[in-house]
Assembly symmetry: C2
Homo-oligomer: 136 residues x 2
DNA sequence: CTATGTAAAGATAATGATTCTCTTTTAGAA
DNA sequence: TTCTAAAAGAGAATCATTATCTTTACATAG
């Protein structure tokens, strides 16, 4: 489904600003910060307002088009990939990488299907994995 | 091990301000924010500076006496419980609760002992579990 | 017990990301 | 084409956090 459809579906107007923010997210596909996105967007759209970018990001998160990823450095990051996945956090560089593993998901899922948490209904889970990236 | 020892061990001076911040963390044991901590501390110590509290929190995190808890929403939170554990995040109230489960830890640990992530050395992991708290 | 060097606290300004307010513009339905 | 609500723009405001600079006090040694 393309972005035009997605906006329509969520009852949002299609504007050039929204399209370019979405483009930025997918081009800068390593969990960009608002600042990264603003920088990218200004190249194509020098007059866009910073507030507009924040508003677009906010409404996208609200409508489930994007997700926020928070780091322990306290800068908010955004991502457009919405399937269940986990994150690798580098202790040294603070880089974030996606980690996909259906097998592990199934193991955890399966565990929670047997072991219920008292007074809590699980909707979703993600694993934060801390460590360091090594050269291969 | 008490807090006096812990500070000594890390080469930190024992000051009333540090002791009261530590007390706040353990009294407000539900992942307090800096603001929560400042409020608590000011009761006993009206003249303490906000900057001091932040500095104490920072150095405690740096020395491994406290940990930061990252959430998708709002501000940074702190916790004094350092054993491996996970967090339950309430989608509705944004409450955070600790979740301990050695069995699940072992399952995940075991998985990672067999399945290595390419170019990444795992140091630790935590599970973020999203959902809603229900009355029992 | 006292002196002393240095780490820490205090006060407050600065920062910087994000949000708010208000005005103008525009997407898209009628 | 017109119209209206939604969105964009501009810039001030906010607010958590950090930085700077001065003063205080912990803790070691004499």
């Amino acid at each position: 489904m393309n972005i035009h459809h997605k906006l329509k579906e969520k009852g949002l107007k299609i504007t050039p600003q929204r399209l370019v923010v979405m483009e930025a997210i997918f081009q800068l596909n390593n969990h960009p910060s608002a600042e990264n996105i603003i920088e990218y967007v200004k190249e194509k759209f020098p007059n866009i307002s910073v507030a507009t970018v924040y508003k677009v990001l906010d409404i996208f998160v609200e409508k489930g088009i994007l997700k926020k990823v928070k780091t322990d450095k306290d800068v908010m990051r955004y991502e457009g990939y919405l399937e269940r996945h986990h994150h690798l956090f580098c202790d040294e560089t603070h880089q974030i990488k996606d980690f996909h593993n259906k097998e592990l998901d199934a193991i955890i899922q399966n565990y929670f299907s047997k072991y219920k948490i008292k007074d809590f209904e699980i909707k979703d889970f993600q694993l934060n994995i801390n460590g360091v990236f090594k050269a291969s």
